[in-house]
């Protein structure tokens, strides 16, 4: 467990610039909260706030999709895996690192939302539930991205992740809502995207259950594949 934590904290350290850029969006929301009249502009503020999870998902997909390849390409992975580190621990460390970064983002988003939207009358309980949904969606997206990154280049891993997350949404539009449970990232974000100041807090836990199972499945699959990959070969 300590090994996973070390790899995760190192991952966060290595990704500090993208994380700071991510947090910049939260800062922009704070500034808007300071400048705007919260009561009269509350709907506009909510729309801006509802965009924030998209950046989080994008971070999870892009960073997760490039995580393994970049470390192999830079050869820094060799020094790490020459220690008593199992491949599964390495994958777990990368995933936990992404989750750390997104938890920080989610926490800042939640605190900002509590302050800015709370003044406009948004339910604080609902807001933190939305933060939890957001984090779950991000963890699932990053698990899918890291899974693809174990055997694809960043470009293909990112495209494959985009397809894996987008296809259930398209299927849902065509064939019905149940298809969205295939990989329920949209379902987890839906309540966030559709939330209003009058939305009551009525949590649906089914997407969380499916997401939890899939996170574990993608994590195990990624570990299994990564354990069988040659990590010290030419990448091109």
């Amino acid at each position: 467990m300590r090994t996973v934590f070390l790899i995760a904290s190192n991952f966060v350290r290595e990704q500090r610039w993208p994380i700071l850029v991510l947090l910049l969006w939260v800062l922009v929301t704070c500034v808007l909260g300071l400048m705007a009249d919260v009561r009269s502009d509350r709907e506009d503020l909510l729309v801006i706030f509802q965009q924030l999870p998209i950046y989080g998902i994008a971070f999870a997909v892009f960073i997760g999709g490039a995580a393994i390849h970049n470390e192999r390409k830079s050869r820094r992975i060799l020094a790490v895996l020459s220690k008593g580190v199992r491949r599964g621990e390495y994958i777990s460390g990368v995933l936990v690192g992404i989750v750390f970064a997104l938890m920080l983002y989610g926490l800042c988003m939640g605190l900002t939302g509590t302050w800015v939207l709370g003044q406009g009358g948004f339910s604080i309980a609902l807001l933190w539930f939305l933060m939890f949904s957001f984090l779950m969606a991000c963890v699932l997206a990053s698990a899918v991205a890291v899974f693809f990154s174990t055997f694809m280049t960043p470009l293909f891993a990112t495209l494959a992740t985009g397809l894996a997350l987008g296809i259930p949404f398209v299927m849902m539009l065509q064939f019905g809502r149940d298809w969205a449970y295939l990989i329920p990232v949209y379902l987890l974000l839906e309540s966030f995207v559709k939330a209003t100041f009058s939305t009551p807090w009525q949590p649906d836990w089914r997407p969380f259950v499916v997401a939890t199972v899939e996170i574990v499945a993608f994590w195990l699959l990624a570990s299994w594949i990564f354990a069988r990959r040659d990590i010290a070969v030419a990448l091109d």
Partner: protein, 309 residues
């Protein structure tokens, strides 16, 4: 008794996704055994399969066929790697202050607390990095980076050190200190597996060497045994005319000439017959460089057969 590192009929092929690019066989039915407590030199030209063999032993890749053991466990065992120190060729490290980085790698090997801090400081000091210990390695020259790489390999006080070109970027002073460090490690009972193109250094520190070429083992043996196997002797005599022996050189009244081992006895008798006196008879030692060139330019069919250790 199993070796510290043992390759048993290991082959490794690199296949491309595109059939037109074909397949490269980096190791071909490769067998080798490294014994406990020795400094083992692993030589070969570029592309011979040295790094592939090392990466297989470290578990960075899987053999296409065959198998191997490191410290008694199959290649790739994470718990075994805790007792191993590894330095990759062209070392790549995270951008952190040097000593902090060494502590990070030590922590990955399960070390912690004051013992980790003390050991990290010790190796940083041993490699002459104390004055730069707090500087970010991003600002380091290649030679300094290599020293940090060595420090991270040594931080866990490993039983086995696997070093891929450890001195390639070092200045002569640092090279001498690394050489001393290797000799000290051997004295402490550690095994060192050293891949290097610095043949003079290998000759100085290694007990045994293996030469690989085109993925196959082409020469294996003790340094002195390999270098003296030229089957020639140099005879130094006094009181004989120089033209008595083909290729003889005369200086200060001494005549020096080379003879085949099989002709040594008759050459000595001829010196005595001419009324001369034998000053010395020495087996001719070729340099490791000569041996290396000889075996790597020879046909690959010279490979040592299956199961050679």
């Amino acid at each position: 008794m199993p070796g510290v590192i043992e390759f048993v009929n290991v082959s490794k092929e690199y296949k491309s996704w595109f059939p037109s690019r074909g397949m490269v066989r980096a190791l071909d039915d490769f067998s080798l055994q490294v014994e406990d407590g020795e400094i083992f030199g692993f030589l070969g030209p570029n592309g011979a399969g040295k790094s592939t063999a090392i990466h297989l032993a470290m578990g960075f890749m899987r053999a296409t066929s065959g198998h191997g053991f490191m410290l008694g466990k199959g290649f790739g065992d994470a718990a075994t790697r805790r007792r191993v120190g590894f330095l990759a060729e062209n070392v790549a490290l995270y951008h952190r202050p040097a000593e902090q980085l060494v502590r990070f790698y030590g922590a990955l090997n399960g070390m912690r607390g004051s013992s980790l801090a003390r050991r990290a400081h010790e190796v940083v000091e041993a490699l002459g990095l104390v004055s730069d210990a707090r500087r970010n390695v991003r600002q380091f020259s290649r030679g300094m980076l290599q020293r940090v790489g060595l420090a991270q390999a040594l931080v866990n006080d490993p039983q086995l050190l696997i070093l891929d070109e450890p001195t390639s970027a070092l200045d002569p002073v640092a090279r001498v200190s690394v050489r001393e460090l290797l000799l000290e490690s051997r004295k402490a009972g550690k095994t060192i597996f050293l891949s290097s193109h610095m043949l003079s250094e290998v000759e100085l520190v290694c007990d045994r060497v293996a030469v690989v070429n085109r993925g196959r083992l082409v020469r294996l043996g003790g340094i002195s045994e390999l270098l003296e196997s030229r089957q020639e002797s140099e005879i130094l005599a006094r009181g004989v005319p120089p033209n008595s022996f083909p290729g003889a050189i005369s200086s200060d009244g001494l005549v020096r000439f080379l003879v085949e081992a099989t002709a040594q006895r008759s050459a000595l008798q001829r010196v005595w017959a001419l009324g001369g006196e034998i000053v010395s008879v020495n087996p001719v030692r070729r340099s490791l460089e000569e041996l290396f060139l000889e075996v790597t330019t020879a046909n690959s069919s010279d490979a040592i057969g299956k199961g050679t250790t």
